[in-house]
């Protein structure tokens, strides 16, 4: 599958459109607030359009995962190519982009969420130029992570995200923003340096024949790393189920687990969410969290099948902890936003559980849950944002009876809440159900235990709904206004997606199925294959 615009691959466009937007924004004088807003909106919208084109042209029957042939919209250029010196093999780093069923939904999600984040940032006034510039930079970073198939490239994008995020939370955030920002930064950096080491170890263990020169060279190509045949005998990560391989997997796992976040690495999340401005929370929950699980699917599982299988149960157990623990913590919160934050801890747990099932339904369920959680939680945060803009408080007990005061708002809210609860007919149900169905086949009791999460979720969601929307309206909120067109514009698309995917999940599932199956077979199949000889 190919799609070029002006002889430049569509993925490159997708990734670097925001950068162009950033440049434009930076060139605009900072008085031109509307101009700045509109530029960013236009560029993100373009991104969405491209994403839709890709989604439409995407060939559902190709698997991708570990075969370069079936990767779609490939772009492969030599980026760094150090001529070999006698004592040091030549260093080759490729600019290698491509997507398959695992990344396609994420690409779409990223474009969509970024666009919505821009819309929801309309009301930002404080040094807006910098804000949108950083937002667009962040967008590029996120998109890049999902499309790059070269580990080095992946890592660069992965890190590029950090700084914008730090500033977006730190400058435009709430009262304790500094704390939250630095916490986020340090946590993620800690994770990513471990990732770096694992990456280097892989680099030296894997080598392929360089088509150009015919010599054997090390490579950062993820797909090459997935092929046991490419491991040099005697290198650090050769062999199967060796201590080094386990260590490397754990390093990678921690790197990603911090992003997900998996208990006990989750404590940055509530702070970050509570302090971040709405749009940033949306991006954080909508896209950033997915990178962790995506990373596990793209790198952790296929490159370390043996370790993955070896640590399958612990993984599932962590998923279980996330589900129950997150739900219970959410139940005890007094702050609306913090509650949603913990709820996403719980929901990401379902993704983990589904992945750990290591069978088709589980994997597909996990992937779909990634997408759905992206849309649903985004809605939830937007909903919090809407009320916060009006009331300037997020205390759950400060509200009540909004249902009468803001009917349109409450309508959308209903969809979001019940989607989060996992009500059939809305997208949340499908993914949760599959994750559990899949997991049950692998971990019987663990899944049964985790399933209690759906009761807890219903518990805290409905409790929140009751406290905020039902009952009688306190005097002080008599002048609250219902949501305006702009806010609807950002909520409605998500709501539609939620409903449509609830009824026709195939729209997404068809994209994922083949890749998911391949991934599962790959991990299960090559778990025992000795690498390096």
């Amino acid at each position: 599958m190919e799609l070029n615009i002006l002889n430049i691959g569509v993925l490159t466009w997708l990734t670097f459109l925001p950068i162009i937007g950033m440049v434009v924004v930076l060139l605009l004088p900072k008085e031109q607030k509307t101009a700045i807003r509109w530029t960013s909106l236009v560029f993100t919208l373009l991104q969405v359009v491209l994403a839709c084109m890709v989604f439409a042209k995407f060939d559902r029957s190709l698997a991708g995962v570990n075969s370069a042939e079936t990767m779609q919209f490939k772009e492969l250029f030599s980026w760094i190519n150090v001529i070999s010196t006698g004592w040091f093999g030549s260093i080759k780093i490729d600019y290698f982009l491509g997507i398959d069923g695992i990344s396609m939904p994420m690409v779409f999600l990223t474009a969509l969420i970024s666009c919505i984040a821009v819309i929801s940032s309309w009301s930002i006034e404080k040094s807006i130029k910098g804000y949108f510039a950083l937002l667009l930079l962040l967008d590029t970073g996120m998109m890049g992570v999902f499309v790059s198939l070269d580990f080095f490239l992946f890592y660069v994008f992965w890190e590029v995200m950090l700084l914008p995020m730090y500033f977006l939370i730190g400058v435009w955030g709430g009262p304790r923003r500094e704390y939250a920002a630095i916490k986020f930064f340090l946590y993620t950096l800690l994770g990513s340096v471990l990732l770096l080491l694992a990456m280097l170890a892989l680099y030296f263990s894997v080598s392929v024949i360089d088509p150009a020169t015919g010599e054997k060279i090390h490579t950062f190509n993820m797909l090459a790393m997935m092929n046991p045949a490419n491991y040099d005998a005697g290198s650090i990560l050769s062999g199967v189920s060796t201590t080094w391989r386990y260590l490397a997997y754990i390093a990678i796992f921690i790197g990603f687990a911090i992003k997900v976040p998996i208990f006990p690495f989750h404590t940055w999340l509530p702070d970050a969410h509570v302090e971040a401005p709405t749009a940033i929370s949306v991006i954080l929950a909508g896209v950033l969290l997915k990178m962790g699980t995506y990373g596990l699917m793209r790198i952790g599982f296929p490159i370390f099948p043996d370790a993955a299988m070896h640590y399958l149960y612990p993984l599932a157990f962590l998923g279980f902890v996330n589900i129950i623990y997150g739900a219970l913590c959410a139940m005890a919160q007094k702050d609306f936003k913090k509650l949603i934050a913990y709820s996403s801890v719980s929901h990401m747990g379902i993704v983990i559980l589904g992945m750990a099932a290591m069978n088709t339904q589980g994997m597909v369920g996990g992937m779909l849950q990634m997408f759905n959680h992206g849309t649903i939680t985004a809605m939830l945060f937007l909903i919090v944002g809407v009320i916060y803009d009006r009331a300037h408080t997020r205390g759950l007990d400060d509200f009540g009876g909004l249902m009468n005061k803001m009917p349109k708002y409450s309508g959308v809210m209903m969809i979001a809440f019940f989607a989060a609860i996992g009500l059939p007919g809305l997208s949340g149900f499908i993914s949760e159900a599959f994750s559990f169905l899949g997991a049950f086949q692998t971990f019987r009791w663990l899944t049964i235990a985790s399933a209690f999460g759906i009761v807890l979720t219903a518990g805290y969601m409905l409790w929140t709904l009751q406290r905020v929307f039902l009952g009688t309206l306190p005097e002080k909120w008599n002048d609250l206004t219902d949501i305006n067109g702009r806010e609807l514009a950002m909520l409605i698309p998500l709501a539609i997606i939620t409903i449509v995917l609830g009824i026709f999940p195939n729209l997404m599932l068809d994209v994922m199925n083949v890749s998911a199956n391949t991934l599962v077979d790959l991990v299960k199949g090559s778990a025992g294959v000795v690498t390096g000889n």
């Binding site: 005890a332 149900f429 399933a451 009761v455 009751q466 039902l470 009952g471 199925n513």
Partner: protein, 684 residues
């Protein structure tokens, strides 16, 4: 595609259309929305009857299955995909008629009852979505869609119970209903997981054939039983069986017609329907457990109903009790009787609720007229003597009461004593003699408390003469549905033989499904069982008539002729009375254990999360303190734990190192030399 299935689909989706119409354009229609919705339901009802008759004419089962999701992969050599579809058999058609009929009548009833409600069109919209999902449960042919609609009725019941959500009690009740149901559904879902794991299909047909061919989950009988019981958990939730019955009485916070439709006739019966659908794969053990659940439920509810004073509460508990009855019936194996009781009960219980609605309506108007806001319009003690004022309501009510008490010539009598016969047969085969005992006991109790209610409400003289002036019969929209339902409470509609249903069309059409569980696990073979029922029938009939007669008699003695003072009894058995009045303290128990437990755990964990987990990371509060004590500049620096911990650790190091950095150049040299020594020492 069979044409009839198109009709079925039409029946299914018409209410949804009305829902969508009203939800989006409700504001436009204003008070016309009621009529619109009612029209839709009218059409629905006609179609339902049409389908009913055309189906009963044939033996075929109309079934269609489509692939919803295809995973493009094989699991043990069968392609892994998720099939959904709809199916119309006799049971379905009967249920279709019941649902549409009651729903239609309630729509009509509400035209008057909800006339000047604040969210009139929203109310009708919600009725629409409810009817849709209820019909969905009935027509689907697989557990997945079943579960989907199962949750959807949960949602609509949530919306309708919480219709007057300004009232805290209402929103509480709604929440309670949803969550308690979720607990049941959890079991249901786990059951589904087991089935899916084993058979990779969720259609009834597929599963049953697989079981029939001897494939068991995990190759174990226990797991088959477990699967059955877990699916039954769904019924426990929806049909308010012990121990999850607590939500139903609270659900009475919703508008009375809603209670009639959802919490008496249809939704709560869905559980029974589920058991009926699952019947073929239920093992003997499973059935026994189910029977006991039913028995216990019906007994507890009946005892509670005796002492309640709120008219709707009484009906609510009687509903729970009757549902227990049906479940018990199915449990013991009296399949047709159980289902039949479902149908008959739907009619007269809906009637009872609507009638009580009519009474409440009248009371309200009276109280409103006198703007008296203290008196509870639903308390039977503040009623009495309404007979003369609202004759139609009274007579219909009486009809329903007779039906539920199982007096001959009523529909209730037929179904009820078939169930009792079933219990007798069951105890004969298995020796579980407790079941029939409870059965008859409950029959008597039912008769007693129902008549208590009837007498207190309509007979004697009214408590407040002045108010009595202002009570009038309800408008047509209210009483017509009552009449219709009253007619349906006669035996003739179910069996031409007034004393035995077993020769009626119902038993012929709704016959025992083929049991698929392996021989050694199955309950008593159907033929022998039916045979035995015939033996027990007369006996059962005699007994049931006797006990209910006795119940009625006591009721009259106590409350009509006042030969025995109820209050005296009450005083004598104070503890017992409170125990019953407070509903066996179930709510208190749950609040104290489950709810408090969960919330407490949540608080604990949240604390744990903030202090310990974040603490380990966050270097905990005290650590931070120490650190900040060590040097003032710290506070700005203390950012986060792990680092913070390092920071603290570093604080120490940093301090020492800084101490070293004295500014005295010779000290530096000394350290250099020490370093030199150390390095040297490494090699010597």
């Amino acid at each position: 595609m069979i044409p009839e299935l198109n009709i079925a689909l039409a029946i299914l989706f018409l209410p949804l259309v009305s829902f969508l119409l009203l939800i989006f354009f409700g504001k436009r229609f204003l008070n016309r929305s009621g009529h619109i919705a009612t029209t839709f339901l009218g059409i629905d009802l006609i179609l339902a009857f049409f389908l009913f008759f055309s189906k009963l004419a044939t033996e075929a089962v109309w079934d269609i299955t489509v692939t919803w999701i295809d995973f493009h992969t094989m699991v043990n050599n069968i392609p892994l995909k998720l099939d959904i579809g709809i199916m119309v058999d006799n049971l379905t058609t009967v249920m279709l008629v019941v649902v549409t009929l009651i729903s239609f009548l309630v729509h009509v009833f509400s035209l008057a009852y909800m006339k000047d409600d604040v969210r009139y069109s929203r109310y009708y919209a919600n009725l629409g979505i409810f009817t849709f999902s209820m019909l969905g449960i009935v027509v689907t042919n697989n557990y997945l869609l079943m579960y989907v609609f199962w949750e959807l009725v949960g949602l609509s019941s949530y919306l309708l119970i919480g219709h007057w959500y300004e009232k805290k009690s209402a929103s509480d009740a709604a929440k309670k209903a949803f969550i308690v149901n979720r607990v049941g559904d959890l079991g249901f879902f786990i059951g589904i997981m087991i089935v899916w794991m084993q058979y990779s299909t969720l259609t009834f047909h597929g599963i049953f054939t697989a079981i029939g061919s001897g494939v068991l989950p995990y190759d174990s009988n226990a797991w088959l039983t477990a699967a059955g019981l877990l699916i039954f958990c769904g019924a426990i939730g929806k049909s308010a069986q012990f121990p999850l019955h607590v939500w139903l009485p609270d659900a009475m916070e919703g508008p009375t017609p809603v209670s009639a439709l959802i919490h008496a006739a249809t939704m709560v019966a869905a559980g029974v329907y589920l058991v009926a659908r699952t019947f073929p794969m239920l093992t003997a053990d499973a059935l026994m457990v189910i029977a006991y659940f039913g028995a216990v439920t019906s007994f507890i509810a009946a005892t509670i109903a005796i002492v309640q004073n709120d008219i709707k509460k009484i009906l609510a508990y009687s509903t729970v009790s009757q549902l227990g009855y049906m479940v018990m019936g199915l449990g013991v194996g009296a399949f047709s009787a159980g289902v039949m009781h479902l149908v008959t009960h739907a009619a007269f219980k809906a009637g009872l609720f609507l009638a009580s609605g009519s009474v409440i309506y009248a009371m309200h108007r009276a109280l409103h007229h006198l703007n008296d806001h203290h008196t509870d319009a639903q308390d039977v003690r503040s009623m009495g003597g309404l007979k003369s004022k609202m004759p139609v309501t009274f007579w219909t009510m009486t009809m329903f009461t007779l039906a539920i008490s199982g007096v001959p010539l009523t529909s209730g009598f037929l179904s009820k004593d078939e169930i009792l016969a079933g219990t007798l047969a069951y105890s004969h085969f298995t020796g579980h003699s407790l079941i029939p005992i409870v059965g008859f006991l409950v029959a008597g109790l039912t008769a007693f408390y129902m008549f208590r209610m009837l007498i207190l409400t309509f007979m004697g003289e009214h408590k407040d003469a002045h108010r009595f002036e202002h009570i009038h019969e309800s408008p047509k929209a209210i009483i017509i549905p009552l009449m219709v339902l009253a007619t349906f409470s006669f035996f003739a509609f179910f069996s031409l033989n007034p004393i035995s249903a077993s020769q009626g069309w119902f038993f012929e059409k709704i016959s025992y499904p083929a049991v698929v569980v392996p021989e050694k696990l199955a309950a008593t073979p159907t033929e022998e069982f039916v045979e035995e029922i015939h033996h027990q029938h007369t006996m059962a009939m005699a007994l049931s008539v006797g006990v209910s007669g006795l119940g009625i008699l006591i009721a009259f003695i106590t409350y009509f002729w006042k030969k025995i003072s109820a209050d005296a009894f009450e005083r004598m058995l104070k503890p017992l009375h409170t125990f019953l009045y407070r509903k066996w303290f179930f709510d208190e128990l749950y609040d104290a254990t489950v709810v408090a437990g969960t919330v407490g755990l949540a608080r604990l964990l949240a604390w744990f999360d903030n202090t310990i987990i974040d603490g380990i990371v966050n270097g905990a509060a005290w650590l931070t303190k120490i650190v900040s004590v060590i040097s003032g500049k710290f506070d700005t620096l203390v950012v986060d734990g792990m680092v913070n911990f390092t920071a603290f650790f570093t604080g120490m190091m940093g301090q020492t190192v800084q101490k070293v950095q004295t500014g005295k150049v010779q000290t530096y040299m000394i350290f250099a030399i020490i370093g030199f020594m150390v390095l040297l020492a490494l090699y010597i």
